[in-house]
Amino acid sequence: MKPRGFVVALLLGAAARFTWAAACCGGNNLVPSLISGDQRTQVTATTAYSRVLGEVPIEGATQWRDEADVESRSSMRLDAATLLSDRWQVGLSLPVVRRFRERNGVQAQAMGVGDVAVHLGYEVLPQWTYSPWKPKGWLFASLTAPTGVAPENSTALYQIDSLGRGYWNVALGGMLLKTWADWDVLFLAQVNQSFAKILTSDAGDFILRPGLGGSAALGIGWSRDALRIGVNGSVLYEGAVATQGLVDEVGTRQISFPLSLQVSYLISDAWSLGALYSDNGWFGPQNVTLNQSISLVVQTRWDR
């Protein structure tokens, strides 16, 4: 892989994580920050800022936030990945999240650890010799722990202290990456399933069973020297949570189609910088919070 290939995958993890915790669903659409080049170890720091523009309720009509209602989410996430062998890799994701909301003159904010995840990756399609059509490919698995406060356990106004999804989650996915001269194409897909949990109350127990979730993304990039400009379109789906026990009800699924624009720059073989803008309100989202996000990514690597 050419050195600029590093920056192709640099923004993958950032692009795939602009999903907000929603009461309806249990998944997290987590995509690990995979080693996709000739590195032995890489560490990625991502700082992101998102602002809520409105909601698309299940009834369909978008409810835009007015100026007296400001909600934002900032995060700093460290992703580390290292090779276990020539084709196996393992990684860790540590997010710290800060949420803020001001509405009708009332302010609330919270900061803390989000949901921590570990990853396992395998390079299923290595590129030992050049091929005009064969892509590089990886399979990955992620396990996310509910270390952030779940929406159901929130006690603060606006559920502002809810910094995680509240479920153990397993994701399986794959990524294909192909470069031709100045162009690259990337395809990524994953499915995830959160485990059921019991919520106890004075009235009795609720059993919350999340549905299957998944996402797919297609990205195209153009590179010149150390600079890459890319666009990435995704579809995110989260199955509804079924609530059983005291009641027997099924919620509503969540669908969105985030679009992101990316610029990345290879400072050296060991360092990359990236910036990303993402918006999930362009193409008919359902039952989601609409938000725009900006993130900055710094990555450092150690060669094999």
């Binding site: 929603a22 009461a23 309806c24 909601e55 309720p57 299940i58 409810q63 209602d69 509405r103 009708n104 009332v106 929406p151 159901e152 929130s154 006690t155 603060a156 106004l157 606006y158 559920q159 919520l199 109350s201 004075d202 009235a203 009795g204 609720f206 919350l208 509804a240 949570v241 079924a242 609530t243 005291l246 009641v247 009800e249 099924v250 919620g251 509503t252 039952n287």
Partner: protein, 148 residues
């Protein structure tokens, strides 16, 4: 022959009566006890109780919310009292209508037959179903709790 005609007449009368009443609501006559029951929004038939839920203020996302639940005997009481203790401690919860996720509302006894829930935080612009539980009886309030 006469008996046969009588029978036919009865059948025609019955059909005519049936057609005439088609589509009409059944008419009931309430006695005084039933008029009390008409205000029994939350009825617990096994316990013989009625209950009423009153939110302290219109539910909002901008501050913690609270409500009061009062119980009275269906046969003797009314929403103004006298209030009675259920045999087992009552409880309450909310279910968000969109997503079916629960919100717990622990009840604390404030006086005889009266219980309070406080510190309930709700999501802006959402609607909730409200339930009150007494023993094995779980009753859902008519209508929805709308949050500003």
């Amino acid at each position: 022959m006469k008996g046969c005609l009588k029978a036919k007449g009865f059948v025609l009368f019955a059909i005519a009566c049936g057609l005439a009443s088609c589509g009409r609501e059944p008419v009931e006559v309430f006695d005084s006890v039933d008029r009390v029951a008409a205000s029994c929004d939350l009825e617990f038939p096994k316990a013989g109780l009625c209950a009423e839920v009153k939110w302290t203020k219109p539910p909002t996302a901008d501050e913690p919310n609270g409500f009061t639940v009062r119980f009275w005997e269906k046969a003797k009481g009314s929403p103004t009292g006298p209030f009675v203790e259920p045999a087992s401690a009552p409880s309450s919860f909310l279910i968000m209508t969109c997503c079916k996720t629960p919100t717990r509302c622990p009840l604390k006894k404030s006086r005889a037959g009266e219980y309070e829930a406080s510190g309930i935080t709700l999501a802006s612009g959402k609607k909730y179903w409200q339930y009150v539980v007494v023993g094995s009886e779980k009753v859902k309030l008519a209508g929805e709790v709308s949050v500003k």
